[in-house]
């Protein structure tokens, strides 16, 4: 093995945590899931062939997240969506900043309300910029299924946004 485990995994630790965050119930759960994924990844590392480390690691995170969800069956998913509190743009005036925070929090909540298969597909495409093929590999779904899940996720999210804007 030419590269160390840490050198291979570290560049994708944020992506792994972000994915775990969207698939689990809160920060503590996401951290547990990634920790568990790191333990597993190290076990599989001797068999890792060195190509597409991101897909390899994200798949392990995703499977660890699903395993943790099946342990906690019955608890609603993502009841604490990633929050938008911490990242106000300093250039905004207070009112604009508030609106912006609210918009982000709403968006996060709507994503969290998507079915888990739709949610993970959307996250991997829009936040991690992965190709259909990579998403198919990570989620174990055929590419056609990835396309239709992505379509359903987008339609459903866009519909909620439009409805809210009409109400406002």
């Amino acid at each position: 093995m030419s590269q160390s485990f840490e050198a291979v995994v570290l560049p994708y630790l944020d992506a792994g945590y972000s994915l775990a965050r969207w698939l689990t119930h809160g920060r503590g759960d996401a951290e547990d899931v990634v920790q568990e994924a790191l333990v597993r990844a190290l076990t599989y590392f001797p068999g890792f062939r060195g190509d597409n480390a991101r897909g390899w690691f994200l798949q392990i995170v995703r499977n660890a997240a699903y395993a943790s969800l099946s342990l906690n069956r019955g608890v609603p998913l993502a009841d604490e969506p990633p929050d938008a509190e911490n990242l106000a743009d300093p250039a905004d005036d207070p009112e604009a900043a508030l609106l912006r925070r609210r918009g982000r929090a709403d968006l996060a909540r709507h994503i969290a309300e998507l079915e888990v298969e739709l949610r993970e597909t959307l996250i991997l495409r829009e936040f991690e910029d992965l190709s259909y093929k990579e998403i198919a590999q990570i989620t174990g779904a055929p590419i056609g299924t990835v396309m239709s899940r992505l379509w359903r996720a987008r339609r459903s999210l866009a519909a909620v946004i439009r409805r809210e804007e009409q109400e406002a």
Partner: protein
């Protein structure tokens, strides 16, 4: 709201996602010029993309995970996960996910010789040799209960100058295995034990790798691998005594 009438809608999406080759993308642009459904879909996906990018809802991994990764790389060893709830469920989940990951990636079957030498090297780092420290086999043996789905035979060879010093849980090819630690003089010996897939007892076979000496035998449905930097003759003596001990 877009009606799903046009059969090209998924291609509109694929185009935005950069999945179409240049020829098909050009065809699609021509089609879109005359198709209100596809125009609406295009506008909607782009609106959504702008919102998502502007919101940037990703979260960075906490420092504690970076530290965990660094520690784990320095001294990788058996799973040590603090906040997971049921232990049995944890192993079931691990087995499930291990199965899923292996089913898709199919890493080449690593040879046990390399794996046991790696396990030995890992165990020597940063005080990870023993999880239970005891020279009493009646303490070591029950310690494995509930941690493994098999009961490793534990023997003490103190009278033969190979005292048992403790036990540890290790992981080989995704399954937990028992590690018994003995000492030959100042040299630690790892004896790794797991249920055999093949039947039939075998004689002790000695091999070396990376300066470590190993023994392998199969007995009563268990695989045994002893690894140490002890010189080959003495290690072989350990293996013979262990096999013969009651």
């Amino acid at each position: 709201m877009i009606e799903e009438r046009c059969p090209m809608l998924l291609l509109v999406q694929a185009d935005i996602d950069g999945e179409l080759d240049a020829g098909r993308a050009a065809d699609l642009i021509r089609h879109r010029a005359d198709c209100p459904d596809c125009q609406a879909a295009y506008a909607e996906i782009m609106m959504l993309r702008d919102r998502l990018r502007a919101a940037d809802l990703r979260e960075k991994a906490p420092q504690s995970l970076r530290r965990f990764l660094a520690q784990q790389s320095a001294a990788p060893i058996a799973p040590r996960v603090s906040r997971w709830r049921p232990q049995i469920g944890l192993f079931a989940g691990m087995a499930l996910a291990a199965g899923l990951a292996l089913a898709i990636y199919r890493p080449p079957m690593p040879d046990p010789l390399g794996l046991v030498v790696d396990a030995h090297v890992r165990s020597l780092q940063a005080g990870h040799l023993e999880d239970v420290i005891s020279t009493d086999r009646h303490t070591v043996k029950p310690w494995f209960e509930g941690k493994l789905d098999f009961a490793p035979p534990v023997k003490d060879l103190a009278a033969e100058n190979f005292p048992l010093t403790g036990g540890r849980l290790d992981v080989m090819q995704g399954r937990p295995v028992a590690a018994l630690i003995y000492r030959g003089g100042t040299h630690p010996i790892n004896l790794l034990v797991w249920p055999a897939k093949e039947s039939g007892d075998t004689e002790i076979q000695a091999e070396s790798k990376n300066g470590f000496n190993t023994l392998h035998w199969r007995l009563n449905g268990m695989e045994f691998w002893a690894v140490s930097d002890l010189e080959p003759g003495q290690l072989k003596n350990f293996g013979r005594l262990w096999r013969a001990a009651p």
